[in-house]
């Protein structure tokens, strides 16, 4: 499969401390790639580099290249990049406005004002995020009134509304109960027909259940990257083996 995102020799520093060391990776289109590893291993940092969310943190220095769609992400307009490479955060973060306005926020940002088109986008996004039936009668209600799991699916709908090609998910289920987690996992599996998903997870069962490829990070290095089955059943690196069999982490 054709890679949609490639990183070459990517290094990242927060001030003096190096968080990513010479990362080389090619993420294939329309698949789910899981990033696993113990806390502080750099997997979230790597994820946030892909849509340049690290730009918001002062004192970050990046070397090496990251290409999206064959072009360096650092040469692209950052707002257009983030439109193409959307993000779902660890804690559900709907805006304190109505469900409708939450989903319409992205399209409005990118210049869509037409009421009918917005209605269509909102409905389509909420259906894609498998939450339409639960909220269709209360689109005008404040999104903060939804449960945690619903809020997270709303945030997925909000990200889908700008029609991204890639969806970055930063431990999207770590704040959710098991049933909501299952729903998000099902959703991710369904979404990969249309989107490329990169998901950071602490839960190795989750990585095994939903991902096609897995990347194992340790202390800022990408230790091993390959098909999920291979990583979990026949890892090439001893450290990967120790981690996936639960010996540390």
């Amino acid at each position: 499969m054709k890679p949609i995102i490639t990183a070459k020799d990517l290094c990242l520093w927060y001030g003096q401390s190096q968080a990513l060391k010479n990362i080389d990776i090619a993420i294939p289109e329309q698949s789910i790639t899981a990033l696993i590893g113990p806390s502080g291993c750099g997997k979230s940092t790597f994820l946030k580099t892909l849509n340049r969310m690290n730009d918001l943190i002062p004192g970050v220095k990046i070397t090496g290249t990251v290409e999206y769609n064959g072009q360096s992400i650092f040469d692209q307009d950052v707002n257009l990049l983030r439109k193409e490479v959307g993000m779902v955060f660890q804690k559900p973060n709907p805006f304190p406005m109505s469900i409708y306005d939450n989903v319409a926020y992205g399209p409005r940002t990118h210049g869509i004002r037409d009421r009918k088109r917005l209605d269509e986008i909102v409905e389509r996004s909420l259906r894609d995020a498998a939450i339409w039936d639960e909220v269709k009668d209360r689109l005008k209600k404040n999104a903060l009134g939804l449960s945690g799991g619903q809020q997270q699916r709303l945030c997925i709908a909000r990200a889908l509304a700008v029609q991204p090609r890639v969806l970055l998910m930063d431990e999207p289920t770590s704040a959710l109960d098991p049933i909501s987690t299952l729903k998000i996992e099902e959703l991710a599996a369904k979404l990969k027909d249309k989107y490329t998903i990169v998901i950071v997870t602490h839960n190795m069962q989750q990585a095994l259940r939903i991902s096609d490829h897995t990347a194992f990070f340790l202390l800022g290095e990408l230790v091993e990257y390959g098909d999920t089955d291979q990583i979990f059943t026949n890892p090439a690196d001893q450290r990967t083996n120790d981690y996936v069999t639960g010996r540390f982490g």
């Binding site: 969310m53 439109k83 926020y105 700008v162």
Partner: protein, 280 residues
């Protein structure tokens, strides 16, 4: 067993504390009661609705009420964009944390300066150039209230969760759009609180206005009023009591001011409460 000496000590301290509490309460009650009792009977429709006239031998505080309203409007119209703008810049844009710290410290210090010093500076800066006028007074009050509006807005900007900003940036929104649509709506309460506190300070201000806005009691329209000298209620209170010996009028004004201050404190508390509830 507790020794008798110790018992005596505990009881003495307790009685002293009760006395202190009672004294504080009584003083407040006495002050409010005294002003209201002496003031309210003197509040008449004629007092509120006329200008003073020597020919008709009549005292009216309509001009002072109007002046107070004008000066509040003029001050807020100027101070709001300045204060809110500065707060947004300092919180959302400025990258030099040390400089921001210094400015914040200066703003805090500014609010502790005796108001008569603002009056002196305002007189030299504004009144000497544009004449003693409500506008000169309003500009002086702008300097005094800038820190109030700025700090309140800043504090409430800081309570807007970073996750909202990240969410909006993550959708490809630019900096200004994020501020306008996600950050600003979250700080309205802070701006409102700042405004209410400012109105309270403007109502209560006398020293700075004696220097800059003058003592005239002429009822004008807004525009003309701003460009002529005029006393606010608080200044009029001083003038009537100290220079004309009209204590009935002075107490009537005092009662009105007292009621307004209570109202303002109440609404500030209500806004703050509402906003704390929302942030929980």
């Amino acid at each position: 067993m507790i020794s008798n000496r110790r018992k005596l000590y505990v009881w003495t301290v307790r009685i002293l504390m009760v006395l202190a509490t009672a004294l504080t309460g009584l003083l407040t009650l006495f002050l409010v009661g005294y002003v209201l009792l002496r003031g309210i009977p003197n509040i008449t429709w004629e007092l509120l609705s006329t200008s003073p006239s020597y020919l008709a031998d009549r005292v009216g505080i309509l001009p002072d009420i109007l002046n107070t309203i004008y000066i509040i409007i003029a001050t807020l119209v100027i101070v709001l964009p300045l204060g809110v703008g500065a707060a947004v810049y300092l919180t959302e844009y400025a990258s030099n944390r040390r400089l921001v710290g210094i400015i914040e410290y200066a703003a805090e210090a500014l609010s502790g300066i005796p108001s008569i010093i603002y009056g002196l500076v305002g007189m030299l800066l504004f009144s000497n150039n544009m004449g003693t006028s409500l506008m000169a007074g309003a500009l002086t009050l702008v300097i005094m209230n800038l820190p109030v509006i700025m700090r309140n807005t800043q504090e409430s900007l800081k309570t807007v969760p970073q996750a909202y900003r990240e969410g909006a940036f993550g959708l490809g929104a630019g900096k200004w759009r994020v501020i306008r649509t996600v950050v600003m709506p979250g700080c309205v309460d802070g701006v409102v609180t700042g405004c209410i506190l400012s109105v309270g300070r403007i109502l209560g201000e006398s020293a700075a206005l004696l220097f800059t806005a003058g003592f005239a009691h002429v009822a004008n329209g807004l525009w003309e009023g701003l460009h002529s000298a005029g006393a606010t209620l608080t200044v009029a209170l001083y003038v009537y009591a100290k220079e004309q010996g009209e204590f009935e009028v002075a107490f009537a004004i005092a009662a009105i001011l007292l009621a307004l201050s209570l109202l303002i404190n109440l609404s500030a508390t209500m806004v703050t409460k509402k906003y704390q509830r929302r942030n929980q």
